[in-house]
């Protein structure tokens, strides 16, 4: 019979189960992580974009306000009023109350010389004719400069408006401390490595960044800056093996670009924590699934193995029973066919014997030879008869005569039959009988035949000098009685062990055994509702265990 390879089966089941359960789990885990991460990044980028937009608007508003203030002021003043230093001084102090970032205020003629000046510096003698901003304001009427040091050696910007008053023109110029922009952008710096700064169109810094540069120095940016574009750009960039979130946008009223660099480490911490959590959960899930799969598979395979083993033993029993039935029929037929000629032979020999009582016959010289020959014929007919009768006994499907049987007593009685034989061969028969022993509802004669067979076999197996131990046991949990026959005989090799219950299987010499004893015993015990087990080790002995139900 083909037996399943349970190790392989176990492996296959485990692998398949793990494959089918882990794959969706991993896909789910990775998808969740991906989705979560991208959603979080989007949220982060969105908030950065909002921040940049609001800061840009604030700076734009600031510049627009200052320009409007200055334009209004210039438009409201006549040349005379504007060039009056006292008047200008008063206006300047008023301006400073609205915004303290005004450093000074000047009115400059078209020749580049101060017409009036209000402020903390002594700049009255300065001439701006050759300054870049001067040319621009003359050309465009309005100008906001980049940050520069100028004559004061202090970073500032200039806002200038051109006032045309009839045929007269003059310029009103206000200086604004560029710290204002620092204060705008400083507030947005985020994270340990975050930064925010303004650059002009030539990438010259207009505010001092936290890292890598100073005001009015060239700034290197990790992204390509093209011409002006509307709106805000946000990008995740790697600088020095570190992820940063960059957002940049152009101001509306000035060719400056606001750049905010966010260090996402702090912002992303919840994301990382969530990721760790996902990994841990995943690992935990995988561990639980593996453990569960292995456990379930082991249990399942063990059950399967058990069932398979039971089935195999059942099959073996059925095969044995079938074999018995078929052989029983054949044995009965053969026995019958042989019994009739045997009967005739016996009667012929008997007739010869009868005739040999006649005096004439007794006078024949060969009388003794003939008598001897007839005697041998009778002897061997008897021998053949024993064989056929045992065959019939084997074939007989007689319903057992059931009665209460004391197995201990029966065994002790049976031993008596063979005691002399055992004594002659120096075989020590030891009895270890269970007490109390419940009775069994069985056929005492048949049971005795089985015991006799087993003891007889054991004595033959030992030959000379040995031990035969007879043990009876009562198993209350199964309500079974066991009679165990252990001999110290020659043992049965494993390849013959499964054949010993087959009819006509014998290890004895021809004429000494019919090979029917054990198969008859097997049939009897089966009919009595029990079974016979055998274990054997070559050279050490054999143990037969007869198990029958107790009543």
């Amino acid at each position: 019979m083909k037996t399943l390879d349970f190790k392989r089966l176990r492996l296959i089941i485990i692998l398949f189960t793990l494959g089918f359960s882990l794959l969706p789990l991993l896909v789910l885990g990775l998808t969740v992580k991906q989705r979560f991460s991208s959603a979080y990044q989007n949220a982060l980028q969105g908030s950065l974009r909002t921040l940049v937009d609001s800061k840009r608007n604030a700076i734009d508003l600031f510049l627009t306000e200052r320009l409007a203030q200055l334009s209004t002021l210039a438009g409201a003043l006549t040349y005379e009023e504007a060039t009056d230093p006292e008047n200008l001084g008063r206006l300047f102090s008023q301006l400073q109350t609205t915004s303290r970032y005004y450093i000074d205020l000047g009115v400059i003629g078209m020749d580049g010389a101060h017409l009036a000046y209000a402020g903390p510096y002594q700049l009255g003698e300065m001439n701006y004719k050759n300054e870049e901003w001067f040319a621009k304001v003359v050309a465009k009427g309005v100008h906001v400069s980049d940050v520069f040091m100028g004559f004061r050696q202090y970073p500032h910007i200039i806002i200038a408006v051109l006032r045309r008053e009839g045929n007269k023109s003059w310029i009103m110029r206000a200086t604004i401390d560029s710290d204002i922009f620092e204060s705008f952008v400083k507030r947005v710096q985020m994270g340990r490595k975050g930064d925010a700064f303004l650059v002009n169109e030539h990438l010259v810094l207009q505010t001092k960044p936290r890292f890598g540069g100073n005001i009015m120095e060239d700034m290197e940016l990790p992204f390509r800056t093209e011409a002006r574009f509307p709106g805000t750009r946000v990008q995740d960039l790697v600088v020095n093996h570190r992820h940063y979130l960059y957002a940049w946008t152009w101001l509306e009223n000035k060719d400056w670009m606001l750049v905010i660099r966010e260090d996402p480490e702090d912002e992303l911490r919840p994301l990382f924590e969530a990721e760790y959590l996902i990994w841990w959960l995943l690992a935990g899930g995988v561990a639980v699934i593996i453990a569960g799969t292995v456990l379930v598979t082991n249990t399942m395979v063990r059950r399967l193995e058990h069932a398979e083993r039971e089935k195999a033993s059942l099959d073996a029993n059925l095969t044995q029973s079938g074999k018995m039935a078929a052989l029983g029929k054949m044995a009965a037929g053969v026995a019958h066919e042989i019994n009739n000629p045997l009967a005739i032979i016996r009667e012929q020999a008997g007739w010869i014997k009868d005739l040999m009582e006649e005096p004439e016959v007794q006078a024949i010289p060969q009388y003794k030879e003939i008598a001897d020959s007839v005697h041998r014929i009778e002897h061997h007919v008897e021998r053949a008869k024993n064989v056929t009768h045992r065959m019939l006994g084997f074939a007989r499907r007689m319903e057992p005569v059931m009665q209460e049987v004391d197995v201990n007593k029966l065994l002790a009685e049976t031993v008596q039959f063979l005691k002399t034989e055992a004594l002659l061969r120096n075989i020590d028969i030891r009895m270890s009988l269970a007490d109390p022993m419940p009775a069994t509802h069985s056929d005492s004669n048949q049971l005795q035949q089985v015991f006799l067979n087993l003891i007889d076999n054991a004595i033959d197996a030992i030959g000379k000098n040995g031990e035969l131990t007879l043990t009876t046991r009562y198993d209350a949990s199964h309500n079974e009685i066991a009679a165990v026959f252990t001999d110290t005989g020659c043992g049965i090799p494993p390849d013959k062990l499964d054949k010993i219950f087959d009819p006509f299987f014998t290890t004895k010499k021809p004429g000494e055994g019919t090979g029917l004893g054990l198969s008859i015993s097997f049939g009897i015990i089966e009919k009595l509702g029990g079974h016979i087990n055998v274990t054997s080790t070559v050279g050490q002995g054999t143990t037969f265990t007869v198990i029958i139900p107790a009543s």
């Binding site: 019994n339 016996r346 009667e347």
Partner: protein
């Protein structure tokens, strides 16, 4: 006690005749019948104490013969002989009034003992009646 009159019914001629020769040699009045009908025919003409009856016979088998014998000659004892240990037929035969059931090849002394026992029973039956 007078020696029993025995009818041996068996289709095996060699067996039948030899048994009859041996019985006659021992002073019994034995006769052969090779089939059931022949035996029943003989029984119409003569009375026997004991019949040895083989169960397995072609044509009318031993059980049928037994039934007829018991019907017609209830006082005659019948010993069943068979080469087949068919328990059913044995039990059936005994329940139908057979005296004994012997398995071939039977030991002659055993057979004689069975005959004697059957004969005694027949005589006892006759006394009771």
């Amino acid at each position: 006690m007078e020696k029993a009159r025995i009818l041996v019914v068996d289709d095996e001629k060699d067996f039948n005749e030899t048994v009859v020769k041996r019985l006659n040699r021992r002073g019994y009045q034995a006769l052969t019948a090779l089939s059931g009908p022949e035996a029943l025919g003989i029984l119409i003409q003569r009375e026997f104490d004991v019949a040895l009856l083989d169960i397995m016979m072609p044509g009318m088998d031993g059980i049928e013969v037994l039934r007829e014998m018991k019907k017609r000659h209830p006082s005659m004892e019948v010993i069943l002989l068979t080469g087949h240990a068919s328990v059913e037929s044995g039990v059936q035969g005994m329940s139908m009034g057979a005296n004994a059931y012997l398995l071939k090849p039977v030991d002659f002394e055993e057979l004689l003992a069975a005959i004697t026992q059957a004969h005694e029973r027949k005589l006892l039956g006759a006394v009771d009646a």
